[in-house]
């Protein structure tokens, strides 16, 4: 925390050199059923009903002493499964996204996941982190091999910290589709695998790598 010269991203890589490969897209609510149907066919365990999830995510930020604009803030995401109260809370650090050139099919970022106890938010507050934003994501989870496919709808919370059904308000008229693989560093074949999978969803949803910095 004292800013010893190494970037946090590098520090985390040293601890757990895991990278998340990510492709994102969105689909209008009206066509979501078709996409779910196709995903059921494409993914593993087609015989079971798709796994649903309902997660609450809160993003905390801490101002960084380092003056580099890229890492002005340290963001930590705390996620909690609303439909599985017994599941532990999760804290997640995401590194700088590397968009890369054309030869790279996916967005790659360092990723660090830790399961933690339910008082983690208090702990972060104590550390000086401030709540940046929060939302609820609800949707369906699929997997094919090690690929995770999440089709989720993002809800805004009208009252801060309240996750009741009637206080939630959908942000858009569409679902977010994410295709992600968390893998050790240096496994570039995943990109190809993910691209092939994304091709199969093509007319319904276009999964692309989005540079979040360039978003308006």
């Amino acid at each position: 925390m004292e800013g010893a010269g190494t970037s946090y991203s590098n520090a985390f890589r040293f601890v757990a050199p895991l990278q998340e490969h990510l492709l994102q897209g969105s689909i209008l609510d009206a066509h979501c059923e078709v996409l779910l149907h196709r995903l059921r066919g494409l993914c593993d365990n087609a015989d079971t009903t798709p796994e649903t999830f309902s997660d609450y995510e809160a993003v905390y930020q801490l101002k960084n002493n380092l003056a580099t604009p890229a890492s002005q803030y340290i963001l930590l995401r705390v996620r909690q499964a609303l439909d599985h109260p017994e599941a532990p809370h999760h804290i997640r650090y995401l590194g700088q996204a590397e968009v890369g050139d054309k030869s790279r099919h996916t967005l790659v970022r360092a990723c660090f996941d830790v399961a933690c106890s339910s008082n983690v938010r208090d702990f972060l507050n104590e550390l000086g982190f401030k709540l940046d934003h929060e939302y609820v994501a609800r949707g369906y989870f699929f997997h094919k091999g090690r690929m995770k496919v999440m089709v989720s709808k993002i809800y805004r919370m009208q009252q801060p910290g309240k996750t009741d059904q009637n206080t939630l308000e959908p942000i858009t008229q569409s679902h977010m589709v994410e295709l992600s693989v968390v893998a050790p560093m240096g496994q570039d074949s995943i990109g190809e695998e993910m691209k092939n999978f994304a091709e199969q969803l093509k007319p319904l949803v276009v999964l692309e790598k989005f540079d979040h910095k360039r978003l308006p």
Partner: protein, 633 residues
Amino acid sequence: MAGSSVKVSVEALQEHQIQEVTLDGQEIYVQQLSMSENLTKLAHKIDFFKDESDGKGKPASEGEKEVAEDKQLAPFMPSLWPWDTVRNHLKCGLTEMSVLLDVLNLVKEKQYLVADPASQDTPDTRPAVQLLAKKKSLVAASSVLLSGAERLKKSHCEASKKTNDFHTELSTLRKIWRLKKVSTNIVGDLSYRSAGSRFWQGGSFEVRKSVEGEQAETEGEGGAARATSLEVTVPSELEGVAYIQVEVKTVPDMMDLTSSALKMPPGLSAVPTNAYWQSKLESAQNVLFCKELFAQLAREAVQVKSATPHMVIGNQIITNVFPGHQLSIVLCHYTGKEKRVPPSNTKLEHNHVLEHSLHQLLHEVHHRNVRIDAPHPVNATYGMTKRRRIAGPAALTRQDMIHMADSESLLSQIIKQTKHAVLRIRCMHVIDQMAVSIQDPQITAHWGCLNSALQSSVRIFITSAGYESLNTLSRTSIVLLIGVDTIRVVMKDGRTCQLSFEDKELQDLLLWQIAQHHTSVVQQIARYQGWQVLTANSSIGSGDAESFATSSAITIASPKGDKVISFRSGPTSGQRLMVKSVHSQADAHPSPAVTDSRWFELGGAFSEINLEKLEGRNLASKIDMLVAHLSNH
């Protein structure tokens, strides 16, 4: 003319024309025409009325000889023939005459043609009637068309039934198996990959349209082979029939390594080459599964360290379960190329239950590979179990984590199951043997119908015939919980003890319990007859030592106190009965310390009673009789 030098003279044949042949064979000839007669005959044929302008020949008034000569030359120069037109006209005339004759014949003679007068109805002019008629005729026409279509459909159906369409069959195949198109070929996958298998060997097969000729051949061979227009080719290493054979053998000392030869049950034979694709694919899939199972077991047999080493020899895995009991797992793969072993008379002694549980175990492994708990929250790391996820927040120790990661190998699981199966059979055998050999008391065993692959239970009742309902105390019940290699015994009084896998231990325990049962029966009888139990000890320390366990003894006194029976029962020494009778001495010196008369009768000698000589079916009835007799005395 071709050769002008050669003279060809043409004249009438010298032979006479035959006019008729009489019945006796004589031929009557036509008189040869003279030259003049011939000429007149020819001249008769001439149509002199016809215009001669188109005849390009010479005038008719020319000399007779010339005409005759010309006529005879005619075949050789038709264009120059002067009588050509005449002939043509005559021919035309003849044709017309013939036609006229034919027509006359047709009209006159009824046999050729019958012409009925057609009665033509005056068509009804009213539009309604016309419409009705039209409708009627349309209905008739449509019914003709429909019946024709029906017939066509039927014949088409029959044709398609005989030879299934390639595409319909392909779609059926697609419903059951995984198929994909690779350039021009259709390739299928029969491996268990999608079900969670991680076996290196793939199971791709090729789908082809079968050739017409072959198809006819299969049809001709008999009704068994279903005609199919689709042909699948499985890899050669997956051809044939395979199965895993599990045998538990009792071997005297050493491991028996000679039995790894392939033994083929006579009922099982290779899949015929022209089998229907479904059966072909299923057997290939089974071969793949058996191979995976065996490969997994063999790998574990080599890796897993155990007290007794497992041996992998060729297609056989041998391991010792108990001393003298050997488990052999054999992969039998019969491709049809091996030399046929003549079916031996010895029936194959293989364990269906263990074979089945081996298959189940691998299926479970597959299942675990595929069914992974979904992460919650959804961005948590995928592929962990639920317990693993809470390991961090719940602060599990390293020991717990290691314990969590421990997974039992298939081989050790199947060895455990085998041990249990062997132990259970041995117990059963011991109990049955004792129930047969020991008549008094009776031993009955009630096996629990609910048991797992690693535990089963049996309740043993020891009763004396005729005295079962005396009291529950006179019935000894023991519960055996048979585990993997130990037996836990819950005795009558609730004490538990642990037995090892040795038969002798169970046998000794049962004998000891029987000996105690005798004592408790005597005690019950005494109680019912009003006798007094002086002492009862289930494990007495006096007397001769038993070779195992302890003997029990009881002393009972008659209500009057003048008879005392002492009974001793040991598992090896048997049962002994002694009676003491004291005659009361009324004239003895009474002492104020003696409050009751029976205390006078403490002394005296016991005399042994030969139990075998006593009357009664079993020990209980003998004692009953004796006690009753003594109390009346």
